[in-house]
């Protein structure tokens, strides 16, 4: 099995390396990927259509908004799946809890606790910046949401899981996760009800006062990014909490 596996890997790698010589050079402007009409349209019209300089954000949330909507659903579904697979209620009495997970060195606890307490607020503020600044620089809903989730992870690693569960209780994991997807789909549905296509944010000019169609698209992108961030942050913490405690949500890190 070992030899067969190695053989299969080497054959695959050799075939791929044989194909590499037909690939375009690094950064070639005339490569098939860069020469296409679609990325050209995205780059040239991102300012005209939505007033968003970051073409990735426009593509992600506007031109290819369906993709991202179901992407958010995938994250939510993964959270639900992990809950369904792992979560046990009441605890398994037959199994003893190993206390070896406890980090040794209690004398450092005050340093770790104080540092994390100082850090968590700036981390969450930075997450909001990344989320809101996705129009102009790398960032957006997924990145901002992951950073918010990371701040909860830091709290549970530095203190303990119960501490973060008092801030974000388990009952809210899936409420928040579903809320994010609902915000995304709801904005799309609102566009539909206002007489445009699904997720055509230009329709939002009828509900936002004094906004041009282009700015309405920009605000629509921000709205769905907020939905994505809510889902991603709560589900990331849900995944961590379930995995680190084998689904019992107590006695974890």
């Amino acid at each position: 099995m070992r030899l067969f596996g190695l053989f299969a890997v080497l054959v695959t790698g050799a075939l791929l390396l044989y194909g590499v010589k037909d690939f375009p050079h690094y950064g070639a402007a005339d490569s098939p990927a860069n020469g296409g009409i679609v990325p050209r349209y995205y780059l040239e019209n991102t300012m005209k259509d939505a007033r968003v300089p970051n073409a990735v954000t426009t593509t992600l949330a506007d031109y290819r908004g369906y993709d991202t909507m179901f992407e958010t659903s995938v994250v939510f579904t993964a959270g639900v799946a992990i809950f369904a697979i792992l979560r046990v209620f009441g605890g398994d009495r037959n199994r003893h809890h190993p206390d070896s997970l406890r980090i040794r060195g209690d004398q450092f606890r005050i340093i770790v606790g104080t540092t994390s307490r100082l850090l968590i607020a700036p981390i969450q503020l930075f997450a909001l910046y990344v989320l809101a600044h996705g129009h102009h620089s790398p960032g957006g809903g997924f990145q901002g949401g992951v950073i918010i989730g990371a701040s909860f992870l830091l709290l549970s690693v530095a203190r303990n899981l119960g501490e973060s569960l008092t801030r974000l209780p388990e009952q809210r994991f899936f409420t928040l996760g579903a809320t994010g997807v609902l915000i995304y789909a709801g904005i799309g549905l609102l566009c539909l009800l206002l007489g445009h296509h699904f997720l055509d944010y230009r329709a939002l000019q009828h509900v936002l006062p004094g906004v041009s169609p282009e700015m309405a698209r920009s605000h629509g992108i921000l709205g769905v990014e907020i939905g994505v961030a809510i889902t991603v942050s709560s589900i990331m913490f849900a995944i961590y909490a379930n995995l680190s405690t084998r689904g019992e949500l107590k006695k974890g890190l």
Partner: protein, 154 residues
């Protein structure tokens, strides 16, 4: 030496992705430990992500006055000076000066799916460990073979 100059140095990035991918594939096929298999899957998807993002890089080609460093070939963000003008006239933007946004978007998607898949995979592994007290493939198979009528609806 000729082979090195002709086939490896110009395609150095692709060689690296293929080697990373082979590492991941090897771990997925050969390793018996389920966690190691998942790590292999993660390495594999990292190779694909690097490959896609590097495809989007654009050095501008024969753009007019094409001095190196004048293009923004690594980022797909319109500069501030150009942005106002471009919102009225899209033709002021030369798309060859920017990276292709599409691979970035696709890989953002792939990263998120990768994290979700990895989480579900780890959850399944934990569940297997809970039921069989092992994450070694052959030990689990031996336990399944030893107790074929095992009750699984607990």
């Amino acid at each position: 030496m000729h082979f090195l100059n002709e086939h490896i140095i110009p395609f150095f990035n692709y060689w690296i992705y293929v080697i990373i991918m082979m590492l991941g594939l090897h771990a997925m096929i050969v390793k018996r430990n389920l966690i190691k298999k998942l790590i292999g899957m993660s390495i594999f998807s990292t190779a694909i992500i690097l490959f896609y993002v590097s495809i989007g890089v654009n050095n501008g080609g024969d753009i007019q006055g094409g001095k190196p460093g004048e293009t923004h070939g690594n980022i797909p963000v319109i500069e501030h000076e150009l942005a106002q003008e471009a919102s009225h006239d899209p033709s002021t933007i030369d798309h060859r000066r920017y990276a292709n946004p599409l691979p970035h978007v696709l890989m953002l998607t792939a990263i998120v799916v990768g994290v979700a898949t990895l989480g579900v995979g780890l959850a399944v592994t934990l569940r297997i460990y809970r039921d069989y007290d092992s994450i070694e493939e052959d030990e689990i198979l031996a336990k399944i073979a030893a107790a074929p009528a095992r009750q699984t609806d607990d």
